[in-house]
């Protein structure tokens, strides 16, 4: 009998009988034991990405204004997008009624960055450019979804219909927890400095879906308690909390003795874990131990709770402390209008902190095993939505091509993968469907996406779904 079978049967019958299990994973000088039911599966390969930080840009960043350089379009300013390019593609009802589709060339200057020669909008992303050779650039992502709700769901869970487990939940399910005092999967919702047009995000995005609830993301908040209810009530100091948990568990022990219900023991452990979590969270969120050097790297905004810079610094601290998967959402990338006014704010929020995160992880020797992912749920159209001027325009949703990047954790730095046509409209080389992207990430985490399954409703469910998905070897170092 293999472990896989055992685990499955175990979960099916004695659901959550155990609070922890004996995974010993050594990391540096400290030994961690898994908890929260986080029994890991056996991986199929040696994991390259033992931890993940996923930076989701909610709304869909404009690929041709940042990564997908189309110099030839200057000559096409305000000309109609040729039908041969659009090919009758379905549009959102926000622009499907537009009389024409005038091309809006990017107003920004692009320059090549790094030895890899990645063409980048260095006006907006000067810091990220310094990391060009550490980054694996993908310019040929595509998806089917054309509106935010289903598109974010697809990006996070592999399915447009809400309710499936997300990538972070799969990571928790597959790799388990490292630190017994913190959740395996943590979510941070960063507050953008510009809030002109935000999109709805909800906890369904970090739900465990059909996986056991313990794999759901735990949201760390920037205001109030970082974890809900983590703080003892006013007037209850730590030593009194310790005393009360001792009292609770002494009574529970009597109850266990009388009834013999193993779940009583689980509860006793959970109260202990709650206590330890309470102890570790203040240390985690206390940034006073960070050096000036850190804040120079991440920028002063990192001191302000809730900013993107603060969130990525928290992500580094969480990763350092053994959190398996950190998901950050950064909103307001939905630039239907005023790209010129809003893109600078967005880039200012993320540029330097992303650079700092990669630099920081590298300096701490963590980048090799920590995968950083950056991207939105779809791209944007080359044609302008609404008013077009040489310096300002809007862009509608575009699922047919968009750009993302990864770094660390086994992703191949300096790679530039995929090409789109002259209009950044259709992919002409090396398409990467989001399910291929998922398959590749799972591969980096040590799992064959075909075999990384969970039985639900009689079927072996997987992140990559039923349509064949392919690992992209060129993206792997």
């Amino acid at each position: 009998m293999n472990d896989h079978f055992t685990r499955r049967q175990f979960l099916a019958s004695g659901k959550h009988l155990l609070g922890g299990a004996a995974l010993a994973m050594l990391r540096g000088d400290s030994a961690y034991a898994s908890t929260g039911g986080g029994l890991p599966l056996e991986t199929h390969f040696l994991p390259r990405a033992k931890q993940v930080i996923y930076l989701h840009m909610v709304g869909g960043p404009s690929q041709m204004d940042l990564f997908d350089y189309k110099p030839g379009l200057v000559d096409y300013y305000d000309q109609d997008l040729p039908d041969s390019i659009r090919k009758g593609q379905r549009l959102t009802t926000m622009t499907s009624g537009q009389a024409r589709f005038p091309i809006a060339p990017s107003k920004y200057q692009f320059k090549q960055a790094g030895k890899c020669g990645m063409w980048l909008n260095q006006e907006m992303l000067p810091w990220l450019a310094k990391k060009a050779d550490d980054i694996c650039w993908i310019r040929s992502l595509h998806t089917e979804a054309i509106n935010h709700e289903p598109a974010i769901a697809a990006m996070q869970t592999g399915n447009q219909v809400a309710g499936r487990p997300c990538l972070g939940a799969w990571a928790s399910y597959g790799l388990g927890a490292i630190n017994e005092n913190l959740p395996a999967f943590v979510v941070l919702v960063a507050i953008p400095s510009n809030r002109e047009q935000e999109q709805a995000i909800s906890s369904r995005l970090w739900s465990a879906g059909y996986l056991s609830g313990e794999h759901a993301g735990v949201s760390f908040r920037s205001q109030g308690d970082p974890i809900l209810y983590i703080n003892d009530p006013p007037g209850v100091p730590r030593e009194l909390r310790r005393r009360s948990i001792d009292g609770i568990n002494a009574l529970n022990q009597i109850n266990y003795h009388n009834l013999g219900d193993p779940r009583t023991h689980t509860r006793m452990q959970q109260y202990e874990m709650a206590f330890r979590m309470q102890a570790s969270v203040p240390e985690l969120t206390d940034l006073s131990s960070e050096s000036d050097h850190t804040f120079e790297m991440y920028g002063g905004e990192a001191k302000k709770p809730g900013t993107f810079a603060n969130s990525v610094l928290m992500a580094r601290r969480l990763t350092e402390r053994g959190v398996r998967f950190v998901q950050i959402y950064h909103n307001n990338w939905d630039h239907h209008s005023n790209v010129g006014g809003r893109l600078p704010d967005q880039c200012k929020d993320v540029d330097k902190p992303c650079y700092a995160l990669l630099e920081d992880l590298e300096q701490r020797g963590m980048l090799d095993e920590t995968l950083v992912i950056w991207g939105g749920e779809f791209g944007r159209t080359i044609y302008s939505q609404g008013q077009l001027s040489p310096t300002n325009y809007g862009r509608d949703h575009h699922p047919r091509c968009f750009s993302m990047w990864m770094a660390g954790g086994g992703a191949k730095g300096g790679t530039i993968y995929g090409e789109t046509d002259d209009f950044s409209y259709n992919i002409v080389k090396d398409p990467v469907h989001i399910r291929d992207f998922h398959a590749t990430i799972l591969q980096l985490m040590g799992f064959d996406h075909e075999r990384f399954t969970y039985r639900y409703q009689g079927l072996d469910q997987k992140l990559t779904g039923v349509v064949p998905a392919h690992v992209i070897p060129e993206l792997i170092a």
Binding site: G213, Q270, G458
Partner: protein, 1059 residues
């Protein structure tokens, strides 16, 4: 703590026992699970993924193919393929990563040798009537449930647990029936009564508890999970959805013990019942509880396809226990549903008026129903009839008034219709010249002024021919209307907007003395769309008054009289707007005129524009009047009536057209005919009453069938809304029992089919879900899936007996539950033994009483109940109890109406949790920690995890801390010292006294708490001030704080959190 390998061994043992116990092979129990797991994905129902054209799910097909030779495994290709060493031939193929165990192979061989008999899937065979078997522990049998449970237990060699302590039993009953713990006095009474009268006493106590309204609150909670009820739309803005009358209906239905078949029919097709009453329409809200969106850019067809898919999924899970949604994209892999059949089922739910976008409004833009309160309902129901009767009466009077009208007309003169106020008339512009560009202005002197361009005159004016105002054709009247803010004045005119379809989007000044170059200083009569506004401005928009009509009062293409009076108070409240002589409802948009403000400007008075523009384009204006005083309401009324009527009366009989005579007759009836006036007054009162009730009544979403339209749907290829396949009509899956012959082919027919006693699924699925509520897991452990890939019943005879009994009882829900509660099975103690933990780890065989961590709602309600804080108030809009900050705020979109959480004050903090406002994108976080679902989709079984986050809730959430303080207070109020207080607390929370061991632990804790708080009184004060309720001064702070901690400790015990 167990180790992993011992669990594995334990599980193996369980598996082994079930095979060893099998006397003869049963296809459904022994063979089908192996085939399902290993073979059917490629050799089953789904034709698209079928390999080698072989089906193994149908005996005939398998035989014909030669895969199976009944009685002769050696001749069966299936056996050859599973035993072969040749990797190219081996089944299941290696790439599937599936592997048969030697035992499974042996079993298949044995099955074929014994004739390879198939059985239809158990769930599709109607339940067979079961005679409860005789059992060894006959003395433990209270009813048939026990015989069937014991028969199974005895087969496994297990003995039932002894009966629970009566106190424990009573606590369990309370929690199962009303979801609240018992009061200590009742515990005592019950214990005595139960010891004296046993079953008789139990029966009466159960009845008593079931009569409490809390029964319905507790039962409804489970149904609302399944119905995915919530108070927001769910997607994008996730704005408020008014739906709570449906929630309240479910509670009332359980309390009224509505038979389950009616309960089902009303929710599926209440709107299609003959003359449905309010409740039956509210019930259809079940189908409107799905999540909806109003996201810009989404495509209507896609939204509708998703909504239909959700309704089909919910329907399948709740009533049939079938995962029909698998067939949305492909033929079901295991159950006999084709994709076509899925869309045929969807067709039942697509012939409705539910819209694709919810508009981000509480009514969701779909069919809704106004639901007046019980008090209002009689009047609400009577009003439509009374209004119709009054209208009829009014019409009759009009028809019979000819003689009286003529009599009046014979003597009527312009003067007899009332006086046109002349006092204080500063200026009048009649605008009735009928030609040219010069018009008369009557003021202290008469003068002529000229239009700015050519004028188009229309003959159908209110008072003779009227001019049309356009850009380039407006009127500078001259230096009139120069008022200050402390002067009273009045102004207005007859107005008609000629644009067909109204003025939506258009704005313009009808009349203005306003300087656009000086921050719009001055005053005007303004229209924005079909709303009339008045501005009094010093500088817009900081120092100004703006009031507008609350409604769209402009009726395009109709002459109307708009008039404004102002009292010189410099306040918005000093302005009144009249429409046709009647004061109209207004809203104040600006009211910030400062003390030193002025309205004085040097620009002249304009008709049809402001100083620079903002033209009343295509509008017609007549009889402009400005008074330098505030006209009284009756004067305005007289003005509105008299100007037109007076002019008509001035004409001779011959000059009057038929239409003009009709206008006079209308005037006569409204103003001069006492009979007609009495009726009109009555009608006005009735309509006002209706409006008032409507204004204070909630609405609720209901379902409505499209009239004159057949339920059809398109097959969507791979589930994609834009890839239409063939059109299908509504139908139920062919493999299930037939549609009732006389039933209509719509949701009503579907509902009848669902509750048809020959439906093999509905009753089983329902009793299984009820069973799950009590025992923590169903007899079928996959309550949403009774299909081939679902779990087999742990005790099918029990399930079938319960289902048949339920139908035979007339789907009597209370009786059903009572039967469970009366059974010895339910009354067992929850104590387990190592032996039982091995053989029956999940208590699926019922070898002991039910014990599991309660749902979050029960835990919160119990805390409120034991502390005495729980409000008994039932029903109504969602409540907003304690919630950490930034739960909604971080999720919501700017402008969303559920973005800011405003916590209730007082009673709203202490209502039962079922009344919590349920925001789907951010449900109550303390409930979410205990696995409460988001209610975005149907949930028929909550997950039940035990996590540290739960401990944090019950230890630290102010709701629980405050409850602990109140419990402590009551305990101290007993005045019986430490022991008295402890007894009070444990009796209240655990329904028992504490033991000596427990006592010493608790008192030890208390001493430590007290020591701390006596040393740190500031801490004590902080703790006892948690929560909104005022703290008590009766006890010193350290004592109350220490006992608060003791109470919190008891409320956090495993025993307190478990049933």
């Amino acid at each position: 703590m167990f180790r992993q390998n011992s669990i594995a061994a334990l599980l193996l043992a369980t598996v082994w026992v079930s095979f060893a116990a099998a006397e003869t092979l049963e296809y459904n129990r022994d063979v089908r699970p192996i085939l399902t797991e290993n073979c059917f994905a490629c050799h089953g129902v789904d034709s698209a993924s079928r390999e080698a054209d072989l089906r193994l799910d149908q005996r005939e097909a398998a035989l014909e193919y030669g895969a199976i030779a009944p009685g002769d495994s050696a001749e069966s290709e299936l056996i050859a393929r599973i035993f072969t060493d040749d990797p190219d031939l081996l089944m299941p193929p290696r790439e599937t990563k599936k592997q048969l165990t030697p035992k499974q192979k042996q079993l298949l061989k044995q099955w074929i040798d014994s004739g390879a008999e198939y059985e239809a899937h158990w769930g599709y065979i109607p339940p067979r009537s079961v005679v409860p078997p005789a059992v060894e522990h006959q003395s433990r049998v209270k009813n048939a449930i026990d015989s069937l449970v014991l028969s199974r237990l005895e087969k496994e060699g297990l003995a039932p647990a002894p009966e629970a302590n009566p106190r424990t039993l009573f606590r369990r009953l309370h929690l199962d029936i009303i979801g609240l713990p018992p009061k200590p006095a009742d515990v005592q009474k019950f214990v005595a009564d139960y010891q004296a009268r046993h079953d008789g006493a139990l029966s009466e106590w159960i009845d008593r508890l079931m009569e409490m309204p809390a029964w319905g609150e507790h039962r409804a909670r489970y149904w609302l999970d399944a119905a995915r009820y919530a108070d927001t739309h769910g997607l994008h803005f996730d704005n408020y959805r008014e739906m709570w009358p449906y929630r309240d209906w479910v509670i009332r239905s359980f309390n009224a013990n509505q038979p389950f078949d009616q309960f089902a029919v009303e929710q599926l097709a209440g709107d299609l019942l003959p003359n449905p009453d309010t409740d039956q329409l509210i019930a259809t809200g079940f189908q409107r509880c799905n999540i909806t969106t109003n996201e810009g850019g989404t495509i209507a067809e896609e939204n509708l396809a998703l909504y239909a898919a959700d309704r089909v999924q919910t329907f399948g899970w709740v009533f049939l226990g079938l995962t029909t949604n698998c067939a949305q994209c492909h033929d079901h892999k295991f159950d006999p549903f084709s994709t076509k059949e899925y869309y045929s089922l969807a067709a039942f739910f697509r012939n409705t008026k539910s819209p694709a976008l919810d508009g981000n409004v509480k009514g969701g833009k779909g069919p809704t129903l106004t639901v007046p309160s019980e008090v209002d309902r009689p009047r609400w129901n009577a009003l439509p009839g009374e209004i119709a009767a009054a209208k009829q009466h009014q019409k009759q009077r009009a028809e019979h008034s000819e003689g009286d009208f003529q009599k009046w007309l014979a003597n009527a003169t312009p003067d007899s219709v009332g006086n046109i106020p002349s006092d204080g008339l500063a200026v009048q512009v009649p605008l009735d010249e009928g030609s040219g560009t010069e018009v008369r202005v009557d003021a202290s002197t008469v003068s002529k002024v000229k239009f700015s361009g050519p004028v188009e005159w229309h003959d159908d004016g209110a008072l003779g021919p009227a001019p049309v105002f356009r850009t380039g054709s407006t009127l500078n009247v001259g230096n009139y209307g120069d008022f200050e803010k402390n002067q009273a004045f009045s102004y207005g005119a007859w107005v008609k907007t000629t644009k067909q379809g109204g003025n939506v989007g258009a704005t313009g000044a009808i009349l203005a003395r306003m300087d656009q170059d000086k921050d719009h200083r001055g005053w005007d009569l303004w229209h924005s769309g079909n709303v009339i506004s008045v501005h009094l401005i010093d500088s817009w928009d900081k120092n100004a008054i703006k009031v507008s009509t609350a409604q769209n009062v402009i009726e395009p293409t109709k002459w109307q009289h708009f008039f404004v009076t102002y009292d010189g108070s410099a306040k918005a409240a000093g302005i009144k707007i009249y429409v046709d002589g009647q004061p109209t409802g207004m809203k104040v948009e600006r009211d910030s005129l400062t003390n030193d403000a002025t309205l004085h400007t040097d620009v002249p008075l304009f008709i049809g524009k402001r100083s620079k523009g903002q033209v009343f384009d295509s509008g017609m204006v007549q009889d402009v009047r400005i008074y330098d005083r505030q006209l009284a309401p009756e004067e305005v009324r007289s003005l509105a009536k008299s100007t037109v009527v007076g002019a008509l009366l001035a004409k001779s009989l011959e000059e009057r057209s038929k239409e003009e005579t009709a206008v006079l007759q209308g005037y006569y009836l409204a103003e001069q005919d006492p009979q007609y006036q009495a009726i009109a007054k009555q009608l006005g009162q009735l309509e006002a009453e209706k409006k008032t009730i409507e204004g204070r009544s909630p609405i609720t979403h209901i379902q409505k069938e499209k009239p004159n339209s057949q339920p059809v749907a398109h097959v969507l290829m791979r589930g994609a809304y834009d890839q239409l396949g063939e059109e299908v009509t509504a139908a139920i899956p062919a493999s299930l029992h037939p549609f009732p012959a006389d039933a209509p082919l719509n949701r009503m027919g579907l509902a009848q089919w669902v509750v048809d006693p020959s439906n093999p699924l509905t009753a089983r699925v329902t009793v299984n879900r009820f069973w799950l509520e009590v025992f923590g897991q169903g007899i079928v452990s996959t309550p949403e899936d009774f299909g081939v890939s679902g779990a087999l019943p742990s005790n099918q005879k029990l399930l079938d007996w319960l289902a048949i009994d339920f139908i035979d009882s007339g789907w009597d829900v209370k009786r059903f539950f009572k039967q469970i509660f009366m059974s010895a099975t339910y009354r067992q103690a929850a104590a387990t033994t190592p032996e039982k933990l091995e053989q029956d780890p999940d208590n699926g065989m019922l070898s002991r009483g039910p014990r599991f961590r309660m749902d979050g709602e029960v835990i919160r309600d119990s805390a409120l109940s034991v502390s005495g804080l729980l409000s008994p108030r039932m029903y109504g809009p969602g409540t907003r109890p304690y919630q950490p900050g930034n739960i909604w705020e971080i999720m919501g979109l700017p402008g969303g109406d559920t973005r800011n959480y405003t916590q209730d004050q007082g009673e709203g903090l202490y209502r039962r949790t079922i009344y919590n406002f349920w925001k789907r994108m951010a449900p109550s976080p303390n409930m979410e920690a205990f696995n409460a679902p988001s209610r975005e989709v149907c949930t028929v079984q909550r997950e039940r995890t035990n996590t540290p986050l739960q401990a944090l809730v019950t230890l630290n959430d102010p709701q629980f801390v405050e409850a602990a303080r109140h419990l402590a207070l009551h305990a101290l109020e007993t005045g019986k010292g430490d022991d008295g207080a402890l007894t009070y607390i444990t009796q209240r929370v655990l329904a028992r006294r504490c033991t000596e061991d427990e006592r010493s632990i608790l008192l030890g804790s208390k001493e430590d708490y007290l020591r701390h708080y006596e040393n740190s009184p500031a801490d004590a004060k902080k703790l006892i001030e948690v929560g909104d309720s005022p703290t008590s001064e009766r006890f010193d702070a350290p004592t109350l704080a220490a006992w608060t901690m003791v109470c919190s400790q008891v409320m956090n015990l495993d025993e307190a959190l478990n049933k």
